[in-house]
């Protein structure tokens, strides 16, 4: 059900004229009012927020986005779907950022459970969640942050059989996996179903990130032929540091949002490589 005229009147009644810190005036609506309208009408918070933005009434939760995004941009994000594959170090941070940013539908994919060695870097992992499925923890966290986000949870590993069904319809797919084999499975599925993929990997204080459209050469430029690529890389001996993982995850979220909003420049056929040990950041040309 979509919000009708009466809902829009209710949104307007509950909105308030306010000012940003720089004195720019705006009309906002609070989280609690959105939830109340949703409860009374049976229409999802997400639909209420989209209707509100279409009236140029900004849900307060997004107000600090609004010098960077227009109301139309924010509504576009709420209408979008992103699939996050892997909910460990990269995926946990990506999930947090996308829920706060207001991506409307998040597909969460991971068949793993938390273990103690995840605590150093995986933001979704807490001491009381050891042995809990990562997908379950991610869903709970999103609901605590933003009740407008619709979650589709897949507590299973992505494979050749389930990939197309999970990622189908996604406006962007984010590779947060921890194996090279898995990354190639995801890339094949993304290309086959015409999805745009953001892929990143980390080891120690190093990381790299690229964006792959279906027609791009993609991961073979990073890892060589899939047949000859090892399953794991340098992370096996170096592990991964929290501040490197969260930085690279932030870059993945940024790329996915630019894909959806069709703005900025993307890392297509480029690899942004990072080493925090000597603060090196360089965008390399892959082809």
């Amino acid at each position: 059900m979509k919000p009708g005229v009466d809902i829009k009147i209710r949104i307007r009644e509950l909105s308030n004229r306010k000012k940003l810190p720089d004195k720019t005036p705006y009309t906002g609506i609070s989280v609690n009012n959105i939830i109340d309208i949703s409860r009374d009408s049976g229409i999802s918070c997400r639909e209420i927020e989209i209707a509100s933005l279409e009236e140029d009434i900004i849900p307060e939760r997004y107000i600090r986005n609004m010098k960077s995004f227009s109301a139309t941009d924010q509504a576009t994000l709420l209408k979008s779907m992103i699939t996050i594959v892997g909910l460990g170090g990269l995926g946990g941070v990506v999930t947090e950022i996308l829920a706060r940013t207001g991506i409307g539908i998040l597909n969460l994919v991971d068949g793993d459970v938390f273990e103690e060695s995840n605590l150093n870097r995986q933001f979704l992992c807490t001491e009381n969640l050891i042995s809990t499925p990562k997908a379950e923890a991610a869903e709970k966290r999103i609901k605590e942050i933003n009740s407008s986000v619709m979650v589709r949870k897949y507590a299973e590993y992505l494979n050749e059989e389930n990939a197309a069904g999970i990622i189908g319809g996604s406006d962007a797919v984010i590779d947060c996996l921890d194996s090279l084999t898995g990354r190639f499975v995801l890339e094949r599925a993304s290309k086959k179903s015409g999805r745009r993929l953001v892929s990143a990997a980390v080891a120690g204080s190093c990381g790299h990130i690229t964006t792959i459209f279906p027609e791009d050469p993609g991961l073979k430029l990073v890892y060589g032929d899939p047949e000859n690529a090892p399953n794991k890389g340098a992370e096996t001996s170096l592990g991964a540091l929290s501040y490197c993982v969260s930085l690279v995850a932030s870059l993945e979220a940024s790329e996915a949002i630019k894909i959806i909003l069709k703005n900025g420049s993307l890392l297509r056929n480029k690899l942004l490589v990072i080493d925090l040990a000597d603060n090196s950041f360089e965008t390399m040309q892959l082809s």
Partner: protein, 79 residues
């Protein structure tokens, strides 16, 4: 007199242990291939997965004339 030139070398992640002291001014013979370079540094060839020469992807057979910035990555797959 030797005809040597120099390159700038950056070895990422697990390859860091092969980094020579003179990485910012590493001497090579002009015409040296990347394959020869990594052999000289004792880096196993299969570990030199991703090679960049002046910010552009290169290959093991790419030749170096001096003055280049070389970056070499092993496979990195952590998440």
């Amino acid at each position: 007199m030797s005809n040597k030139a120099s390159i700038t070398l950056k070895l990422f992640a697990t390859l860091g242990k092969f980094m020579p002291v003179s990485a910012d001014n590493y001497r090579i013979e002009p015409g040296t291939s990347v394959r020869d370079l990594i052999a000289g540094l004792k880096i196993p060839e299969e570990k030199a997965k991703l090679i960049f020469i002046d910010g552009i992807k290169g290959e093991l057979d790419s030749t170096l004339n001096g003055g280049e910035r070389i970056g070499i990555f092993p496979p990195v797959g952590g998440g």
